[in-house]
Structure formats: C-alpha cells, structure tokens
C-alpha cells in the first residue's frame, strides 16, 4: 500500500503563491509570502494568533484580495478573475470555517443540500439524497440528519461543516483552526477525520492551526508564519529543531508542559 507521502505529486502544484502582501490600514499582515501546495499534500500553516494565517486562506478562496503578489489556484490566477469564474473555482475549493458557519435556520440535511442543489442543478432527488448520506457517513454523523445546528456539540458542528464542504467533492480543502475550542479527544477525532478525508477524497489540504498536536497528526509538510513571512518549513521535527525564540516557546508550551 502506498504511503501518504508517495501519493503527493511534487510536479503538480494546485496552489501557487508568490510574494503576497496584505495590509489592513497601517498594519502589515503578510509581507511577501510564497508557497506551493502540491497535489495530494496536507500542508499545515502554523503561527501565533493574529499573524495572518486566516487572512492567507481567505485570499486563496477569494474572500479577501491581496495587495500585491501572485495567487494561482488550480492554475487560475485570482487577479482579474471574473465573478463567474470565481464561483466555479470555489466549487473545487472547500473551506471549513473556524466556527463551522452552519446556516442556523436550516437543518443538517438542508445545510448539506443547499450548496449541492445550487451548484449541481442536474442532480436528481435520489442523487442528492445519496450524496448527503455519503458525506454524513464519512463524518460519522448519519443520525444527525434532521437536527438543527443549535442541537449539535462543537465537535459535531465541525464535522457537519466539513461534510458541507465535502459534498461538492472539492479538489482542495482549506481548514481554518479545525480543532480550536475542542477538547483533546474530539480534537484527535477531527485530526483523524482530516486524514481520512484526504485519503478518501484524494484532496489536497491547507490546515491553519496553532495546535501542534493537530499539526503533527495531519501535516505532510509544515510552514511557520512568522512576522508576515514563511520563515521555516519542513517536517514537524525539522521545524522545531531550533533555538529561535519565536519558535521554541511554541513547542515547549504544547509538549513540555
């Protein structure tokens, strides 16, 4: 059986970013970020709160615009992209929000059905139902199909949020703090789910987190966002093999306390 590393196609970047700058007013957030996400890869972006990790993935999905620099997603340059092209590109990029962002006036079924029937109008009622059952099974929450989001726990909401992005069968998954606010056991389950999704749906992922257990568990490669730039990248052990005072306390806090 091929290992996960062997499934990564290093000749085929699905996201390419070069010299990306972004500021809000006088506050410079990203100061020349460059990176590639390869097909089949799970890339973890680590960094302290407020360093621009979420800003980065919001730029990738077109919710924010960079001030300058190149952002290419699935070969498409986001600069000058039309609204129609962006909408069609977004169907191939799943985005799992930090707080799940479930539509609270809809049941779980409606939450899953909503993006599907709007983006794939040719599907029959039966096919829609089948897709809903399939993704609910993937996140192991088939029994919650008729529940309202307010009736779900934090972990369940995260799972449904992930299921809602999976239903469009995206080529790229973007996870914004997938384990934030969850207890350690639920975090382990979510990490496991991210790995399973990557293997089952053959997607490439960017996981934004400051949870090192999550980074270690899901990351094929880790990049660390420091002072608006990717200063360190590599495997988990390589990242923390340093005395850099900006990096070391991160590891110490998570693993030696």
């Amino acid at each position: 059986m091929a290992t996960r590393k062997e499934n990564i196609d290093f000749n085929h970047p699905v996201i390419t970013i070069r010299d990306l700058y972004k500021s809000f007013g006088d506050l410079d957030i990203l100061k020349g970020v460059s990176m590639d996400l390869f097909k089949g890869e799970n890339l973890v972006v680590l960094g302290r709160s407020g360093t621009g990790k979420s800003v980065l993935i919001k730029i990738i999905v077109g919710l924010l615009q960079g001030d300058s620099g190149l952002v290419e997603v699935l070969g498409q340059n986001l600069e000058g992209i039309t609204t129609k092209e962006l909408q069609s590109l977004r169907q191939k990029v799943g985005f799992s929000f930090q707080n799940s962002a479930l539509y609270d006036s809809m049941t779980v079924r409606e939450n899953l059905e909503f993006p599907l029937v709007r983006n794939k109008k040719h599907l029959t009622r039966k096919e829609v139902q089948h897709s809903i059952e399939m993704v609910l099974e993937a996140v192991e929450l088939s029994q919650s199909i008729n529940q309202m989001p307010s009736e779900l726990s934090g972990g369940q909401r995260k799972r449904i949020g992930i299921a809602r992005t999976l239903i469009l069968n995206p080529e790229i998954m973007l996870y914004d703090e997938p384990t934030a606010g969850l207890d350690p056991l639920t975090s382990i389950e979510i990490n496991k789910l991210i790995n399973e999704v990557q293997e089952e749906f053959k997607s490439s992922s960017i996981v934004i987190t400051h949870d090192l257990a999550c980074a270690k568990s899901v990351g094929d490669r880790i990049v660390m966002l420091l002072d608006g730039k990717f200063e360190r990248q590599g495997k988990f052990e390589e990242i923390f093999d340093t005395e850099d005072p900006r990096v070391k306390p991160f590891y110490d806090y998570n693993f030696t306390q």
Partner: protein, 253 residues
C-alpha cells in the same frame, strides 16, 4: 477629527451607492430565487397581519372619533366618510404601514443578516459558490417591495372598517353608503400615488435593513447596531420620501 468623520461619511455614502447599484444589477439577471422570495413574502406579509390588523383598526376608529367633534361644530359630520377616506388612503395607511414595518421587518432583516455576517454564514455561502447577495438581499428587498403595498391595502381596508364602526356608533349608516362616500371623494391618482409610495417605502425598508445587516461587524454589538440603524435610518428616509412624493403628487394634481 472633523475631517476623519467627513471621510467616513463619504465612504459610507459610496458604499450605500454601490450596494443599491448592485441590487439593480442583480435583480434583473437570473437565476431567480423565487422560492426564497415566496418564503420572505410569507415572513414579512403573513406574519405581520395580526399587528397590522390591530393598528389599522385602531387608527381608523380613533381618527374618526377625534375628527367628529370638529366637523360637528360646522354641522358637517356627513363629511366624515370622505375625510376618513382621504386621510386613510392618501397618508395614514401607507405611512403607518411603513413605519410599523420598518420597526418589525427592518429590524428583523438587519439582525438576521447581521448575525449571519458575524458568524461567517454569508462568507460560507460565498465560498460554496452561492451568490449570497442574490439569495439574501435581492429576495428580501423584492419581498418587502411586494408585501408593503399589499399590507398597505389591507391596513387601509381595516382602518376604513374601524372608521365605519365609529360612524355607525352615532348614526345608522349602511356600509354600502359609507364605502360609496369614501370612494366618491377619492381619485385614481390618490390610490395610485399611495401604491407607488408604499412600493418606495417597502424598497427602502428592505434595502436599508439588508445594507445594515450585510455590512455589520464588531460581533454581537454590531448585530444590535445593525438592527437599530435599520429602523432609525429607514424611518428617517420614509418621512423624507413621504414629503417629497406628497409634493410631487400635489404638483401633478
């Protein structure tokens, strides 16, 4: 400080202008959200009926009661149906319906979209390839533009019924004669101008509520502010519009 406030005010104006232009661009281009428009019509129209019924009836009844002594002084109480008809159709029904709706519907829209915005539900729609502006804003503004005129007609009917009951308390007037008197004093221009006015009011309530909600920020505080401003701003605009449309109709008349 003064410069900073002026700058923010101008930026706000530009954003509102862009929001309104976007609405007109999107409202005429498919795909249309018929199902959502119908759902919003139900929320805005049907669910407002009890409040509108009570308000309309009280306005008609009280207005007639209050007008009677003045007309009686001149021995002109026979003019009551005409006075009620003109007052209700020309001014009271559209204005009262709009003001109540801006409180009930405007704040609801502002708070709903505001909370969707701060919990990233609007962003979630956008990244799923759904146009949230069309789904949330266009459908609500279309629904208010349709339902406020219908509610205005309903409030006018209920207010006239209230007026009739007040008249009937003192004189044995038949309902048919009362209605005939009311409509004899009205022209098509009165009815038409009221309808146009209520469409404008409905549009204002919808677009202001949506703008405030769609652009809210700063967490829960922002949601409260969006709901509050949706009411304050739409009421203010409704009074300005009432003044302008009344002048235009007067000039046409």
């Amino acid at each position: 400080m003064y410069f900073k406030n002026s700058k923010r005010y101008l930026i706000d104006l530009a954003n509102i202008h862009r929001f309104v232009i976007r609405f007109f661009k999107e409202v005429f281009v498919g795909p249309y959200e018929f199902k959502e428009v119908v759902k919003q019509c139900y929320e805005i129209g049907y669910k407002s009926l009890p409040l509108m019924s009570v308000t309309g009836f009280i306005i008609g009844f009280v207005f007639t009661n209050q007008s009677r002594p003045s007309l009686q002084d001149f021995g002109a109480q026979a003019m009551l149906p005409s006075v009620i008809g003109i007052a209700v159709i020309r001014a009271l029904a559209p204005l009262v319906t709009a003001l109540i709706s801006s409180g009930k519907v405007g704040s609801q829209i502002g708070a709903e979209l505001g909370s969707m915005k701060v919990t990233e539900q609007i962003d979630a729609m956008e990244v799923s390839g759904i146009n949230p502006f069309k789904f949330l804003v266009v459908s609500r503004v279309v629904a208010t533009s349709i339902m406020i005129p219908i509610l205005t007609c309903y409030v006018a009917c209920v207010a006239l019924l209230g007026g009739f009951l007040s008249v009937h308390q003192h004189e044995a007037t038949s309902f048919n004669i009362f209605v005939a008197e009311v409509f004899n004093s009205l022209s098509y221009l009165d009815i038409f101008s009221s309808l146009i006015k209520s469409v404008v009011f409905g549009y204002t309530i919808g677009i202001v509520g949506c703008y405030q909600g769609y652009n809210s920020n700063k967490g829960t505080e922002g949601v409260g502010r969006a709901a509050n401003w949706a009411v304050v701003m739409s009421m203010f605009l409704i009074f300005i519009e009432e003044l302008l449309i009344a002048q235009i109709i007067q000039a046409i008349r």
